[in-house]
């Protein structure tokens, strides 16, 4: 029995669904004091139209890096060394300056973590919203402000606050403004990077509920990044699990819950309590993440894995398809996709 907080129906992904985002073999490196950090290592996944796609993993596993790579907003110490990021068939990594500029916010947009200083402190929120419109469409300032007011209404902020400065709003409201900014040009894909982590639970719940409603009306796909797995299990259609820069499993939520294939996924699921149902003993995952500057050979999860076999130590497992929409990288999967 599961607590269905958002009363959602999960979307079943079929092979006929249009693919909005297709990432192939993406690898990203960061320059650190001690050397190069392989933050994202040969990651591939697809997001379909209207899909609520979750990306989970521990802190530092590379999730945010993927998000920033899609928007090409990585900090200067990071470098994409290989791979493709295909948005509706076109490789974002090959976009020129103007094409990239138009891509951002119009086709794909991003909502950053709420604790950060995301809004310009000396400009009104109305003006900041209008800027997004004015940068992409030839409208008058007045029209842009009008649309900004409508966007605020979308996120339940009274339009009288259009002339407010960011510091005059609460944390939750600021985050909703950011969401309004992300939706104002009706993009196809919205990336949420830990959008509610720094907010309290009630506000978090409200915001997420609103996001889901908006998704239903506007029809965009979502890439939702967080380390809060139970939350994702409620909201997402499919979830990808990352570990130490590698993607270890992607599965529809139903499969993930009933038949997780990767031992890490299994371990994660055991580590969270369920809100309803009988009490069960929590199990953590012993050990810690390997050093990403000098990673060991073979599977990065080897040291902590209860399913490991000799092959795992020397060779890195490939990320392969188990069944429709379900992929895993493991030599000794818990489930091979043969059962019903």
């Amino acid at each position: 029995m599961r607590y269905n907080a958002f009363s959602m129906d999960k979307k079943e992904i079929t092979s006929e669904d249009e693919i909005i985002l297709s990432i192939k073999n993406l690898s990203v490196q960061y320059k650190a004091e001690r050397g190069q950090v392989q933050a994202v290592n040969d990651v591939s996944f697809d997001i379909h139209k209207g899909e609520f796609f979750g990306l989970a993993g521990e802190s530092g596993c590379g999730k945010s890096t993927i998000a920033f790579s899609i928007m090409r907003l990585l900090k200067s110490s990071a470098k994409i060394n290989s791979g493709e990021i295909n948005f509706k068939g076109k490789n974002v990594l090959l976009f020129g300056k103007e094409e990239l500029r138009l891509f951002r916010c119009e086709k794909a947009s991003m909502v950053l973590q709420s604790a950060m200083n995301n809004l310009n402190p000396v400009v009104t929120i109305g003006s900041q919203l209008a800027d997004a419109i004015l940068a992409h469409e030839k409208v008058t300032k007045r029209e842009a402000i009008q649309r900004a007011k409508e966007a605020l209404a979308l996120v339940n902020i009274d339009e009288s606050r259009i002339k407010a400065y960011p510091h005059e709003l609460s944390g939750g409201m600021r985050q909703r403004v950011i969401i309004a900014m992300a939706l104002i040009l009706k993009p196809d894909l919205v990336i949420f990077d830990e959008p509610t982590t720094a907010l309290d639970v009630v506000v978090q719940h409200n915001i997420i509920r609103r996001i889901i409603e908006l998704k239903k009306t506007l029809g965009f796909s979502i890439l939702f990044i967080t380390h809060d797995l139970p939350l994702m299990l409620e909201m997402c259609d499919r979830i990808a699990i990352m570990y130490a820069g590698k993607m270890v499993e992607v599965a529809p939520v139903k499969n993930l819950l009933k038949k997780p294939a990767h031992p890490y996924t299994y371990g994660l699921l055991q580590a969270f309590p369920s809100l309803v149902g009988p009490k069960k003993k929590l199990r953590g995952i012993k050990g810690s993440v390997p050093d990403l500057i000098t990673p060991p050979s073979g599977c990065l999860f080897y040291d902590r894995c209860f399913q490991r076999i000799s092959e795992c130590k020397s060779v890195s497992p490939k990320f392969e398809k188990i069944t429709e929409g379900h992929y895993c990288a493991c030599f000794n999967k818990l489930w091979e996709g043969t059962e019903q």
Binding site: R104, L112, N117, N120, P121, D131, A135
Partner: protein, 330 residues
């Protein structure tokens, strides 16, 4: 709450007054505490013959009374705008000396401050945008070097280079010596004054430019690393808009207070420069007064400096909330 309200103004005003009071008290105490007692000096003067003037000063400043009484008299005289009478150029009142010198100082300092800030902002922003480039490294390196030089030395070099060697500009004074400034037509006045002010202004501008450029550059760099810049890019804004509305507007704010403060400290900022160019401003006046031990003039100048600094700070405090919406007014 945005905008200013009366409470804020009053608070700042009281604060300004308090600071001014402390400065003026220090000004009062200094000669008396340091051992150079005006009364003694006067006594020595009277021994040399000008009895009557020693008497007048004594009376006016109550130098024969106790220190607390002297203090009150001092404050009272200040409020009346009476800064005393100069010892060395008796009976010229200190106020007259100051009002003659002040305009010259203001001229070179104000112009050089405006020029140096403008160029500093420009160079600083460029250097920040081109961080790591040759332009950036060179500009920063040269600026740091200039900041390490004694600022009067730059003045000396300029005098030697452009004044003596090249002969392009006069090497001193505010107007050509021997000319009656009131007898010439206004445009000639302007030319003469400008001609003589050029080198001092250049000298001051170069020295101040260095530090301000570095500050501006680091402000811009700091702002560029903020998250709202990332988000502005994520919104697909044009680069020019991100720079102007999102980056520079935030980067210039701290510079604004610096600008106002520089104006306030204008008077004392030029002392050595005025010496080098024999420019008859407040700085030169103070130095000459020190050499001739003309205490009223020294104290009078210092009082004026204190007033101008406190006033500019107060004005800056009033203007700042108008431009930065984040400032809370309590």
């Amino acid at each position: 709450m945005r905008g200013i309200n009366g409470k804020y103004i009053v608070k700042r005003f009281i604060s300004a007054l308090f600071t001014l009071w402390i400065a003026l008290t220090v000004n009062f105490l200094l000669p008396r505490v340091m051992g150079g007692n005006p009364a003694d000096y006067l006594a020595s003067q009277s021994a040399m013959g000008s009895l009557e003037y020693a008497e007048i000063i004594k009376q006016q400043f109550g130098l024969d009374k106790s220190i607390p009484e002297q203090y009150l008299i001092y404050l009272k005289e200040l409020l009346h705008g009476n800064l005393g009478i100069s010892f060395t150029t008796f009976p010229v009142p200190v106020v007259k000396i100051i009002t003659q010198a002040m305009p010259w100082t203001l001229l070179i300092v104000l112009i050089s401050t405006i020029i140096s800030f403008a160029i500093a902002w420009l160079l600083g922003t460029l250097a920040a945008l081109k961080k790591g480039s040759f332009f950036d490294t060179a500009t920063v390196g040269v600026s740091f070097y200039i900041q390490s030089t004694p600022y009067f030395w730059i003045g000396m070099l300029i005098v030697m280079g452009l004044g003596y060697y090249a002969g392009w500009f006069p090497m001193g004074h505010a107007i050509p010596p021997g000319i009656d400034i009131n007898a010439i037509p206004w445009f000639q006045k302007v030319i003469f004054i400008g001609y003589h002010a050029f080198l001092p202004i250049l000298s001051l501008a170069i020295v101040n430019l260095a530090g301000r450029m570095i500050m501006m550059r680091s402000n811009v760099l700091q702002v560029l690393s903020e998250d709202y810049i990332t988000l502005a890019q994520a919104k697909g804004l044009r680069r020019s808009r991100i720079l102007s509305k999102y980056a520079l507007r935030n980067a210039l704010l701290p510079s604004f207070t610096g600008f106002m403060l520089s104006m306030g400290q204008a008077v004392s900022g030029a002392i050595a420069t005025e010496m080098i160019f024999s420019y008859p401003g407040i700085g030169l006046t103070i130095m000459n007064a020190i050499l001739s031990q003309d205490y009223p003039v020294i104290q009078g100048c210092f009082a004026i400096i204190a007033v101008s600094v406190v006033t500019m700070n107060f004005i800056a405090d009033l203007i700042y909330p108008l431009i930065d919406p984040r400032v809370s007014l309590t």
